[in-house]
Symmetry: C2
Subunit: 469 residues, 2 copies
């Protein structure tokens, strides 16, 4: 990518009801350094090398699997090799779910195999029954139990490609809540049209959820072409009988860890800007876009800052989170460990939406820091980043900290292709465009440096952002 | 698709060295009827309904499998339901190859599972060895046995999307001839980068070949992302060890059949224009584009002609060929049964390149029939069909008849996406654009009707096209 050349951006003062003494500002020197980091990042390969190494040398990283430990060892060694000042781990404990095998087939009226993946947290089970179909979770939610009892529930909601991936709301709702609802209504099993926007015969796995007191049924995702096939049979008007045979389930608990690397601050090392992604992945692919890319982006950005002649005032910490996929266990562990010290966490941002370019910045900061966000925007807008809103930003694995009062940025990526590949065997390195990845690194390096060098804070304080829309 | 409206094409006379009495011509009435058939076909759903039914009610149709018989029963019943005048079968016997399971993994330096499919005709085998890589078959062919002995051979040739799919020449060469060559050089196994232009983690199976006297090794295709992964490891410089465990092989012989439907000619019923596709498919998908579409296109075209108030002079026969995939066994059986009567087969064309639009017409006809081909072009060119060459046309399953002297048309389809999906689990109905399929039906209906009604022949005679380039 061509190096971007800009003149030093003019710093404009935001108007604010607060006292001038509370205003958060970024010095012209820090803005200039951020611009250099941004331009340097566009030609830097550290993030791509990181995710290439992780996907090649480790591959899939199902939380609790043998690769969980291997991946943490790999990242720890890589963080040290990258020259970070400190590298450590913080434990995260969670139930260990294991996938052994899954088979599904249409038994009648026209026997055909179905390509399925068990959903994370699904129990083991081998069930055969007639299919009862619903267009989406809402229709299932309002269904009569008499219609569902003894059947295998199917939800057919179809996602489409979108930059913001908003269909995933309804798509993942069916996956997360559909099996429990089906079980409550007396179903014997659950299958659904994958929460994915592709047309490949590769199902999208993902987590589902059962309350401890709920009945449980085996639950699986089918690929879009398989869902099409099932729907054509259903349209024929004959009863469609399916066998669903899943060998999977929980096997005790597992203690993994968030792996953390630090660029130690030059003036206030105990305060930290936190960036990161999650190290675990689903098992069919190699966890490239979800979320090797996110860890790589954060590590690549911090690596550029680590190499500066002078570190920013505050520390920058890169967090490679444990087990996000089954319920943000790493994020919750991080929150539990640190939310009492939330004021020391200047601001946080997780990258967990693939490797498409960042196109929008949403924030969760105090009003007095909006001028500093405007300063960041002047550095980021040449990368194609637009300003979104201030209020409640999506914290991802930093959500627990955000809920506790940490300031958060949501650096929204282009997710047009994300749901074609995520949680499938297709989540492989070739899906990452190195130039798009570098744009992400540029955004994270510039923002993190400016935040770490800001005069004033972004509002992190216990309960600071409690009132959310 | 909007109905195409054309004025009756002006018929131009081709100049030819032959006597006027030998010239083959199509009457203005026949041209007019062909134009009506063409326009009608663009709004006709019979072909799409055919392939939707076949893929939904039968699905994969591996030659010799239980679905081989089921598919023939289905097509026989469907041909009868479509109202063809005659429906019959002609036997085709071939070795029965069976796929039970396949597993492959990189053992070291970085353990990872590989997604593979055994190649058709591969023997069973469980081998572990270091990988020796070649860029394509030609490089393997000239390799020193000392370099290959005891290793697992890998060929990394990468195909790209092309309208004419010409990369498949080199891609399929590696698949067909690579394993035998590797075995001759002392290798213990063979894997290759699928002969496919996609980036999905779905391998492309396909047939390989071993001479009876050759040593044999287990042979499998890996997906493009898996091949990328292997190549990244190889680029690291360490020895890469692979385990390849295939359970597959021959289990006796099987007698299937070509299923044939006839629109009986009104004046010369013993003479026939033959069109068709192959009914068998590889097993990972449902055989939609390869080649349910081809059979559907031919059946849809003949169905329109069947419904005419008056049938053309000659018969039209639709052939749903047996076992094309493992070596054109159905085509060879058809040739063996009929080539003594080659003069009665007016002209033939098989559709076996997916469901993209026909964009070129190549011919293998006598010079005196080129004027009639020009007349066909006037009807077909509004569909986007360009004139190719005359000489040796690609006969596919009609190749044995073509070699024996039958006139042949090669109605070349747009294959840009074909090698993304063929021989993979992704060969499913959603890959067929109904409008593109209808254009194919329009081409086949118009050409077949004109050929069946032509005054004069296209040169079919024993040995007529023996001198080929």
């Amino acid at each position: 990518m061509k190096r971007l050349l800009f003149t030093i951006a003019t710093v404009t003062c935001a108007t604010s009801p607060a006292l001038a003494a509370d205003l958060t500002r970024i010095s012209p020197d820090a803005v200039a350094t951020a611009q250099k980091l941004r331009d340097q990042a566009l030609d830097d390969h550290a993030a791509y090398d990181f995710v290439a190494g992780l996907t090649t040398e480790i591959g899939p990283r199902l939380a609790g699997s043998a690769n969980d430990q291997r991946a943490r060892d790999w990242v720890t060694a890589r963080f040290k090799a990258m020259g970070f000042d400190k590298v450590w781990s913080e434990p995260a404990t969670f139930p260990k779910w294991v996938r052994h095998s899954e088979h599904a087939a249409i038994v009648s009226p026209y026997p055909q195999n179905l390509v399925v993946l068990a959903l994370g947290n699904s129990p083991k089970g081998n069930v055969t029954g007639d299919v009862v179909a619903f267009k989406d979770f809402n229709e299932l939610k309002s269904a009569d139990a008499a219609k569902v009892k003894g059947k295998i529930v199917y939800i057919g909601y179809r996602m489409h490609q979108q930059r913001d991936g908003h269909d995933y709301g309804m798509g993942s709702n069916g996956r997360t809540n559909g099996p429990e609802q089906a079980a409550k209504l007396g179903a014997k099993g659950f299958i659904f049209r994958s929460a994915g926007s592709d047309s490949d015969r590769l199902p999208h796995t993902g987590v589902t959820h059962f309350d401890d007191k709920s009945p449980q049924v085996p639950a699986a995702a089918m690929s879009n072409p398989d869902a099409d096939l099932l729907e054509r049979m259903l349209a024929g008007g004959k009863a469609v009988t399916i066998n669903l045979n899943l060998d999977c389930g929980f096997e005790g608990t597992y203690t993994g860890a968030n792996v953390i690397a630090e660029v130690t601050g030059s003036a206030k090392p105990d305060e930290a800007v936190v960036i990161g992604g999650h190290l675990d992945s689903w098992d069919p692919g190699t966890g490239a876009i979800d979320d090797g890319a996110g860890v790589a982006i954060a590590a690549g950005a911090a690596h550029l800052i680590e190499a500066l002649p002078k570190h920013p005032k505050r520390s920058i910490r890169v967090v490679a989170f444990a087990n996000e996929e089954a319920g943000m266990f790493g994020g919750h562990a991080f929150g539990a460990a640190h939310k009492a010290d939330v004021a020391k966490f200047t601001i946080g941002a997780e990258s967990d939406f693939g490797s498409g370019k960042v196109w929008m910045l949403n924030s969760q900061v105090k009003p007095e820091a909006l001028g500093a966000i405007d300063q960041m925007m002047q550095v980021l807008s040449p990368l194609g980043v637009e300003r979104g809103t201030n209020g409640h930003a999506h914290g991802g694995d930093f959500g627990a900290m955000g809920d506790a009062g940490m300031a958060v940025l949501d650096l929204t990526q282009d997710g047009t292709r994300y749901f074609d590949w995520h949680h499938t065997a297709n989540d492989t390195l070739d899906k990452i465009d190195p130039k798009d990845l570098a744009q992400n690194v540029a955004v994270y390096a510039a923002f993190a440096y400016m935040a770490a060098n800001a005069d004033g804070d972004f509002g992190s304080a216990p309960g600071a952002f409690a009132a959310k829309p």
